[in-house]
């Protein structure tokens, strides 16, 4: 396996170099009206720790947590059906329906949501488009296929004999679910949750299109700083702060759920 070491080191070196370049840019002074950065400074970090940027980080974390929870709740029954339906045809149909969104592309799907959430198809009692609610709907829809597949894989590894044993000992279906199925599917819940949470933290297209500029997540602000304000050092600093926060959050969540997933 030693022959794999060299390419692995090369790939990691490229990643490290890119991250290093980002870090270097975050330490260079931004000069408005010029592309040339100035000398070394920590001012970019002070700027991106201003309340308006920290609010964005907080809102991103909240939206990501809400997306993860809602995706889990909505995906679980579908994953259960996918794992346990005896009919092969029904399973295939469920699988096709689950995977179909993958084949349409994120932008097409999100544009479809622009029409649906914008009262063109349905009249909503509350404004949906260009609100956090609308962005949440888009993010959940985007995340569900992956969550369903991860949960279905976990559920299919549970031996139904455990559930039958619990039922034969007098447990009602709800109790069987809460005491047997749910705990045994915890590895899938944790894996799916971490995947959805991590990529929602870096979501861009969904908040960009469904947020109408009013709902901004971390990636949108990085783009705003870098591409609209030409503030590349500021964008690099915000990206570094966001990366550190994301890693810290994921590490914390990983530690919190390590025991449960085992």
């Amino acid at each position: 396996m030693k022959f794999l070491l060299t390419p692995a080191v090369v790939v990691l070196a490229v990643f490290a170099a890119a991250l290093g370049a980002l870090f270097r840019w975050s330490l260079l002074e931004f000069i408005p009206g010029s592309l040339r950065p100035g000398g070394l400074t920590l001012a970019n970090f002070r700027s991106v720790l201003a309340p308006q940027y920290l609010d964005t980080v907080w809102e991103t974390v909240l939206l990501s947590a809400a997306t993860t929870l809602l995706t889990l709740v909505l995906s679980y029954p579908v994953a259960y059906a996918l794992a346990r339906t005896p009919s092969r045809r029904a399973r295939s149909a469920l699988l096709v329906l689950t995977l179909a969104p993958f084949f349409t592309g994120a932008i097409v799907r999100t544009y479809a949501w622009v029409l649906v959430l914008g009262n063109a198809v349905v009249t909503w009692p509350l404004p949906m488009l260009f609100t956090e609610r609308g962005v949440l709907v888009g993010l959940v829809h985007f995340s569900m296929p992956s969550m369903i597949l991860v949960l279905a894989a976990a559920l299919s590894h549970i031996d139904p004999a455990y559930e039958r044993a619990a039922a034969s000992l007098g447990a009602r279906p709800a109790r069987v679910f809460w005491r047997v199925t749910l705990p045994l599917s915890m590895p899938g819940i944790v894996s799916g949750g971490l995947i959805v949470f991590a990529w929602t933290l870096s979501a861009f297209a969904t908040p960009e299109l469904l947020g109408g500029g009013k709902v901004k997540m971390i990636a949108n602000v990085v783009k705003d700083l870098g591409l609209d304000s030409f503030n590349w050092p500021g964008a690099a600093a915000f990206a570094m702060v966001a990366l550190a926060l994301t890693l810290a959050l994921l590490a914390g969540l990983g530690r919190l759920t390590a025991g449960r997933a085992a």
């Binding site: 408005p32 009206g33 010029s34 592309l35 500029g213 009013k214 705003d224 304000s229 030409f230």
Partner: protein, 345 residues
């Protein structure tokens, strides 16, 4: 034997076009521009006659404003493109980084025919103009909009959209209304805050702006005149307002020669041709943007419309041109203020 002949033919068929295309790329003038209608129009209206006249093929490198700027910066000294189209204030960033070559005006005789306002610097010249103004759908908005101040009408609450990538137009208008301008823009802060509740959405791209208008989600917009005319062509009934109180904010797209290019002469010839009366007249028809050559002819349907300036007086009276350098320098601060005070809940 037959197999060898077949293989030889196949190899020749594959290699010859590759070699031909490589040779063409070496001789071609490479023009950097936005995609879609911009590239298609310049290709059809300027590049084809240019090739017919000079024999020099033209290739295009398309992309967004900032993508192309980033690429140019990376390739500084040995540019991947020879000629660049971009907005006048972004051109200031190219100039500040030494990415543009000083223009040899002797080789651009048609530059003598362009409006004074289109002569942006000794590095870049205007190619066409337009305005950011108020555009709305009369079928969805009952109140008549005739001036910038009408945007503050409470009846328009939740109906307006404007760009968030560049709020300089509305910031300058608010400042003008309060007796300031783009330099002391802070004068308009209070006025602009009053507009916050009327804004339904902010758009990041021209496509988003047009979608918001088509679907009626934001039937009143601070919009590029060119995009408004494009919507009209598509059958969307939008009214492009010639504001009675303050002029529209002029945008000028510009052409420049990349520093270090080996095809500077060809690039200058291209610019010269693009500025000629004939080509300018065609550009007006195709883009529905204003000509920079004051002798260009304008179709009757466009004459006098917002963003179409044909006389020096019209340039002066019907459009407000921001100082490029001030705009390039202030844009980050404007965006930060705008995001914190207008975009954020």
């Amino acid at each position: 034997m037959r197999a060898r002949v077949l293989t030889g033919t196949l190899v020749a068929l594959l290699i010859v076009p590759l070699l031909a295309s490589a040779a063409s790329a070496q001789n071609a003038l490479v023009v950097s521009i936005w995609g879609g209608n911009w590239k298609d129009t310049v290709e059809k209206v300027v590049a084809k006659p240019f090739t017919a006249k000079t024999g020099i093929p033209v290739e295009f490198e398309v992309g967004g404003t900032i993508d192309r700027l980033a690429k140019a910066r990376v390739a500084k000294g040995s540019p991947l493109v020879d000629l660049n189209f971009t907005t006048t204030h972004v051109a200031r960033l190219y100039i500040s980084d030494g990415l543009y070559e000083k223009l040899d005006m002797a080789k651009i005789p048609n530059s003598k025919e362009i409006a004074r306002e289109a002569f942006r610097s000794e590095y870049h010249l205007g190619s066409w103009a337009y305005v950011y103004t108020v555009v709305y759908r009369p079928d969805l908005v009952k109140e008549e909009i005739a001036k910038w101040a009408d945007l503050w009408n409470p009846a328009l609450k939740g109906k307006i959209a404007m760009p968030d990538f560049d709020p300089s137009h509305i910031i300058t208008i608010a400042a003008l209304m309060e007796g300031g301008n783009e330099v002391n823009w802070q004068k308009g802060e209070g006025k602009l805050k009053q507009l916050k509740s009327s804004i339904a959405a902010f758009y990041s791209t021209d496509a988003q702006s047009q979608d918001l208008m088509k679907t009626g989600q934001a039937p009143v917009q601070v919009m590029l005149s060119v995009n408004a005319y494009h919507l009209q062509e598509q059958g969307i009934r939008v009214k492009v307002v010639q504001p009675r109180d303050y002029p529209g904010i002029v945008g000028i797209d510009t052409m420049a020669v990349m520093a270090g290019t080996k095809k500077a002469d060809a690039a200058l010839q291209f610019i010269n041709l693009a500025l000629s009366k004939e080509i300018q007249s065609e550009l007006v028809k195709a883009l529905r943007a204003g000509p920079v050559n004051t002798g260009a002819s304008v179709p009757q349907s466009l004459a006098g419309q917002p963003g179409i300036f044909v006389t020096p007086a019209q340039w002066k009276e019907r459009g407000y041109i921001m100082n490029d350098e001030v705009r390039a320098k202030n844009l980050p601060a404007w965006r930060e203020w705008f995001t914190a005070n207008i975009v954020k809940k």
